[in-house]
Amino acid sequence: MDLRDTAEEAAFRAELRTWLEENVPDELQGHRGGAARFDGPAMRAWSRALYDAGYAGLTWPKEYGGGGAPYTHQAIFLEEMARAEAPPHVGVIGLGMAGPTIMAHGAEEQKARYLAPILAAEEIWCQGFSEPGAGSDLAGVRTSARPDDGHFVVDGQKVWSSFAHLADWCILLTRSDPDSTRHAGLTYLIVDMHAPGVEVRPLTQITGEAEFNEIFFTGVRVPVENILGEVGGGWQVAMTTLLHERGTLGFALQAALEVQVRKLIALARDRGADHLQRDRIAREWIEMEAVRFTNYRSLSALMKTGLPGPEGSISKLVWSEANQRVTKLALEILGPDAALSEGNAPYGGYWQYQQLRSRGNTIEAGTSEVLRNIVAERVLGLPKSR
């Protein structure tokens, strides 16, 4: 047990910190998660800079153009990115979900074709999993893929797709067997977002911004070589994707929470906080440290045994609820000024925006209800509710 960076980790962190200080573009720093994050050219340029500096795909194997670095480097990378309030690589879906899934299930030609452009931010990916009728219950997917002359013809609707309006490719979960139900009969496809019949419509959310999109597929022809895994084997492939979605994500979330708690403390210093508020500030600082060291425990287990520790499964659940409390506490400290927004609000409306945005945290990437089911059934071994 040693909670300090090793000499090698410390050197990596120091070099990265300096690089971020010098390279994060002013207009993208301290992003609210809003419009700037989805500005195509600026984000692509930033992502390309990350790639050129060797920070894209740190843990990807070298043979696929990655850094071949240990998970601790990825953890340090995510911590430092959040502390610098740097925007993420625009290819987060490609780097964190599509890429690892292609590495696990893809044919050699697919690996050769798709992986390198993800790292260089030359091609952006989005995820087509959720549907209006299939959210937490992903096995209810109905988007159809009908075989036709060396192609699949795709019809249906996907929803909550971040980056879809910028994306070149989509990892799409479809039902290829119309007579199947639930987990059988699903096929995982790689779909060209520029193909005829693909239409993307932005979804305006609670904050007034459009972070997510709906994607409509109408008679979209997808060549059979774009299957990932086997026909009918889509569920297993999708599980690989979701495993990666929740993988080292915990580190990014903890680091984001640390920034948020630091800002909360600065706010309390600036505006004053009463005794009850101070108690809650201390609670949130404690919670943030607890998430940090829980992530460390899980990552250490991963490094030693190849499997993340079970305690890692709670990070996203705890973070999402903590972020909701922290942002609401900030509004309380702001007092009547909390009612103002944007330019008329203190700090440019930062807290008002963050508080509204935080309501999505317990819904996206696994609802808190689903995550509690996962802890109950897979970690505690309680009988399955379904």
């Binding site: 040693d2 601790t72 600065a266 201390a282 709670i314 705890v318 930062y350 509690r372 059934e377």
Partner: protein, 329 residues
């Protein structure tokens, strides 16, 4: 960064769990024979020359087993104040100690000797009268001392900062051990007990509180192990203010220990409310841990003062990089 136990530390945990299961009321001599009383005492004084991290493993297991005896009061409370010759006696199992930090002193029935804080020093108390008081938690007796004279001066009072950190961390670890055992009872019960034709663990009204209990427990355990690592690897003699890690661990684990026990009692229903089941004893130990020393509210007030930079003595160790709130807009 490595936040795992070594194979030796894991072996120590296994040994402790097996031994305490077979010997629920071990004597001080037995603990000394296992090497537990001298874990962090130097080898030349007859100890193992290990660290507080190994002691942390034992505190967690001793909490789980509801151990009754002077281990906490000797190893967590008094050891930092003891000179080498007296440490050697502890390592050899010849003496156990307790420290009168406040009016209520733990383990007066089993500890051989008593230390007191007086002025700028910690002294051995001689010729005192001891009176045991009735307590809700029977596994950690409390009492008062009357009369007596300060004898040998053991240490400068500056060692109290380390003692406080060790005590808070040890209590946090005990609370984790207690909560783990209580949660295991609840999981076992929810996995076998049937109502309305189904195992009750199927109902999310039961399973989600248990998932939350597990979540609280793991978060607290992370804090407690962090605090233990700080005690073992930082230089507590150089600390100029209380350890925030230990305060965070104690405030959080003590409250969560109680809450996890309460969830477990609820899941076990009527059985959980009986004298016969062990749960009430775990619950009472958790309550005893919570009331020992500073409360969660007090500790959080200290943490808030440090975070908001209102402690003029302290250096702001918490938030290394300045962040401007304006950056967010």
């Amino acid at each position: 960064m490595d936040f795992t136990f070594t194979p030796e530390q894991e072996a120590l945990r296994e040994q402790a769990r097996e031994f305490l299961a077979a010997n629920p009321e071990p004597s001080w001599t037995q603990l000394a024979e296992l090497g537990w009383t001298g874990v962090s005492i130097a080898e030349q004084d007859g100890g193992a020359g290990l660290t507080f991290v190994e002691e942390a493993v034992l505190f967690e297991e001793l909490g789980r087993a509801l151990y009754r005896g002077p281990y906490f009061s000797t190893v967590a409370l008094t050891l930092p104040a003891l000179p080498d010759d007296l440490r050697a006696e502890v390592a050899a199992g010849e003496t156990s100690w307790t420290l009168a930090l406040g009016p209520l002193v733990p383990d007066l029935d089993t500890a051989d000797r008593v230390a007191i804080v007086g002025g700028d020093g910690i002294y051995e108390l001689e010729g005192e009268e001891r009176e045991l008081l009735t307590t809700t938690d029977e596994t950690r007796p409390l009492g008062v001392v009357r009369g007596g004279e300060p004898g040998r001066r053991l240490a400068d009072a500056s060692v109290l900062i380390e003692i406080e950190a060790r005590a808070q961390t040890a209590l946090a670890l005990e609370a984790c051990g207690v909560a783990r055992r209580a949660l295991e009872y609840a999981i076992e019960y929810a996995s076998t007990r049937e109502q309305f034709g189904k195992k009750i663990g199927i109902y999310q009204a039961v399973s989600h509180p248990l998932a939350d209990a597990y979540t609280r427990l793991e978060l607290c355990r992370s804090l407690a192990l962090w605090a233990a690592w700080c005690v073992a690897n930082e230089n507590p003699q150089a600390w100029t203010r209380p350890s925030l890690a230990a305060a965070a661990a104690k405030s959080s684990a003590a409250e969560s220990g109680v809450a996890v026990c309460e969830t477990s009692i609820q899941v076990l229903g009527g059985i959980g409310f009986t004298w016969e089941h062990e749960l009430h004893r775990l619950y009472k130990r958790a309550l005893g841990i919570e009331s020992f020393g500073a409360s969660g509210t007090t500790l959080r007030a200290e943490i808030a003062a440090a975070l908001l930079n209102e402690n003029p003595e302290g250096t702001p160790v918490v938030v290394p990089a300045p962040v401007s709130v304006e950056q967010g807009g």
